[in-house]
Symmetry: C2
Subunit: 456 residues, 2 copies
């Protein structure tokens, strides 16, 4: 479609500058001090959707951060695509490891460095600009709805209520999400599954106050030591998770699918060099791609307790804390697995400490069938702009809301991700390649076109 290409070529600088403007807003959903920034960001998203051609855009307040909804409905006989994305970002810590300010986007070597560059401002904004392309060239082939939320990074806490109470508003034939990665521009891929999640915070209390480690050390349980023992026991010598019942609901992936997954390009030496590790670690019996795709995991996301400042303090602390999350695969259910995890930890907490767990957020795993019209339209769109058939892969991350979309809206989700695993999501120096940003804007209209044609 030359008309799309021309429009995009003409406006490429504008597209990029608008994204940079969005990236300058520190919309960190996890931190209450950014409440105003969240509203500012939602307002900016609304403005941009209206400019792009949406006929209606509303900011819906929630008990947490607001949801932005926009639409352009052209013809009830045409299919409706619901684009989901999120304008909130992960906290930028640790700040000292960023080469430039997380909210002062910098373009260097063809990469946009900023918190949210890829996850997910850069990616949902491709949809806004693809939408603009189609509207401005008078070639929109479908009805489009946008649902851009502000709580994805904190588990979409209020989105399920919103979805349940706005089923008619959100009614669609397919949900389209760009919040995942592809292997590379040379090896385009489509995620056919995302893992589920359960996330908890654990608090271990030993003595009722911080103690002098000389006066009391050796006579009372140190909560750090106890927490370490509990954590250490969660993986066995083969790095299997030891929690009874943890694997009960895991569906065995057929050999054929494992063989297909094994075809994805993977260079172990390169992978290790990129991460700066001399040896990999993981569950025995599975490849790296399987460990991050088809297998559930348990990771420590944070730990703290006692004195963590400069110099020395000989304290035996009262408390130690950890943040623990599990990635889940079909057919593990987040609620059940949270309970399995918490109850196991409660059981192994020894009697000389007090145990407390606070569930944070979660979501069920989700799979897109590769034989569906939706997947085929996505695959054909990639072919149109990349000249290659995309490889179906399993993504390691989680988009907790997708399982709910399926049950509440009764439609499938397509993960049309243009990020890269190396984009430092959730890490310092998050980036998004400018080329991927433009490639996404170029590809997305084709999805709508092919989907409209196939659904006829």
């Amino acid at each position: 479609m030359q008309v799309w290409k021309d429009y995009q070529e003409q406006h490429k600088d504008k597209f990029l500058n608008e994204l940079l403007e969005l990236l300058r807003i520190p919309s960190v959903s996890a931190r209450s001090e950014h409440k105003e920034d969240m509203i500012k960001c939602a307002t900016k998203v609304k403005e941009r959707l209206l400019e792009a051609g949406a006929t209606t855009v509303e900011i819906y307040p929630t008990p947490g951060h607001p949801v932005v909804y926009g639409e352009k409905l052209i013809d009830p006989s045409k299919p409706t695509v619901l684009v989901y994305g999120h304008y909130d970002v992960q906290p930028p810590d640790p700040l000292e490891l960023w080469h430039s300010g997380p909210f002062e986007p910098v373009i260097k070597d063809g990469k946009i460095f900023a918190r949210g560059a890829c996850d997910d401002k850069g990616q949902f904004y491709m949809h806004v600009k693809a939408f603009e392309t189609m509207v401005q060239t008078d070639s929109l082939p479908v009805n489009i709805k946008f649902l851009i939320e502000g709580e994805e990074e904190i588990g979409s806490r209020n989105l399920s209520d919103f979805v349940q109470s706005h089923k008619d508003l959100l009614k669609a034939d397919v949900i389209l999400i760009s919040d995942t990665a592809m292997l590379s521009l040379e090896n385009p891929s489509i995620d056919v599954g995302v893992r589920g999640l359960t996330y908890i915070q654990v608090e271990i209390t030993g003595p009722n106050r911080d103690l002098h480690s000389g006066v009391y050390g050796g006579a009372v349980a140190n909560p750090i030591t106890i927490l370490a023992k509990m954590i250490a026991s969660l993986h066995d010598e083969n790095n299997h998770i030891t929690i009874p019942g943890f694997y009960d609901d895991v569906v065995t992936v057929p050999d054929a699918e494992r063989a297909a997954l094994a075809k994805a390009p993977y260079d172990e030496a390169e992978y290790k060099t990129d991460l700066g590790v001399s040896e990999l670690w993981g569950e025995k019996g599975y490849t790296t791609n399987e460990r991050t795709g088809i297998r559930p995991t348990l990771e420590l996301n944070g730990i703290w307790g006692g004195y963590t400042g400069e110099g020395a303090k000989t304290v035996l602390p009262s408390k130690a804390f950890a943040k623990i999350s599990c990635r889940l695969v079909p057919n593990q259910k987040s609620e059940k697995m949270t309970e399995v995890l918490v109850e196991h930890l409660r059981k192994i907490a020894p009697p000389y400490v007090q145990f407390k767990a606070t569930p944070d957020h979660g979501g069920d795993p989700y799979m897109t069938p590769v034989d569906s019209v939706e997947y085929k339209a996505a695959s054909k769109a990639i072919e149109a702009t990349f000249g290659k058939t995309p490889i179906p892969v399993r993504g390691g991350g989680s988009i907790p809301i997708t399982a709910l979309f399926e049950s509440a809206l009764n439609c499938k989700t397509i993960f049309l991700g243009f990020g890269l695993d190396s984009d430092n999501l959730h890490s310092p120096n998050e980036k998004f390649n400018v080329a991927n940003f433009y490639k996404g804007i170029e590809t997305i209209p084709y999805f709508h076109k092919f989907y409209a044609e196939m659904k006829k």
Copy 2:
């Protein structure tokens, strides 16, 4: 000595107010931002020593915080007592657990609440006021030297150089230190030993940057998990320390001494209630008093890594850290044990992480012989003011410099402590009972008197 009693009774309010003034100076040696406060505190100590009757007081700069030295030499034929103490204090964190400001001393229920109230401003200041009592009543029985340093809480880093290069200045017959506890005013005791110390910081590095725990989780070692496994392995199921060679130099305490130690009043139910724990923890085969007195220990003083803020962040961190210290008993040597600890940790660090250890500070254990003139003078002083023979006990804490005093100055150290184990040393709401403060001032002159008489 009625004249002492009268003087102290007349000046009791002044004594207390002067201490409160000292406690208002946040002399936290571990934190570089308190450098000026350290100088301010040293200057105040100098002023007070001069006012009390010292003929010379000097502030000696060191590469770290300054040392205050003062003296009043009355007669070369009389014995010389070197009083050692420290004007620096532990960091006050965690601040939110203090009921009143750590540097805004408050007297409540007969207790002085402030950082340093007991450790060691309140205790060394008893010596300044006892000295004043004797000088002002013209009854000083010995030559007195004061060595009040500013780096005890960070391992007396520069004091050993100072002592080595000022042996003549510091020459004495005995060293007197009030920086320990007694069982209670009803059951006075004298510490006949303090444990040694080794303190290190450990850094475990996994991947070269923080990673998304979904994208990489399961495929690369999580430094928190690895650190937890390493820590967990340091104690076996009987809470013995598993480090090879750790116990090699530990002198077996004779049954007779263990029996004597067992006579110290100890109420397990009360101990547990005070600490708020339902079960105690410790090395199998030893009592609580033995665990904190005659046995070496390994404690985690701090741990941190990954996301420790509000809410959730699904990060697989690059690094995890811990502060680990061991209390040592005769004849373990701090330097050797630091090496044993570090080398063991290095050995058990698996190949998929990088290990780094930074030794912080340490000191050797120290014992005072109970059959010495020094001990007898101290025992008799306690008898004079408490009406009871003190119980000799082993202290759990460490005063790293004592072993050096013995080797460099060739004299014994007496620990004449008036604190209580429940004084929350190194913890929020550190306190010192006003009664103990006055009892110390009352008792100390008797030590000098009896020591002068016995040394004749």
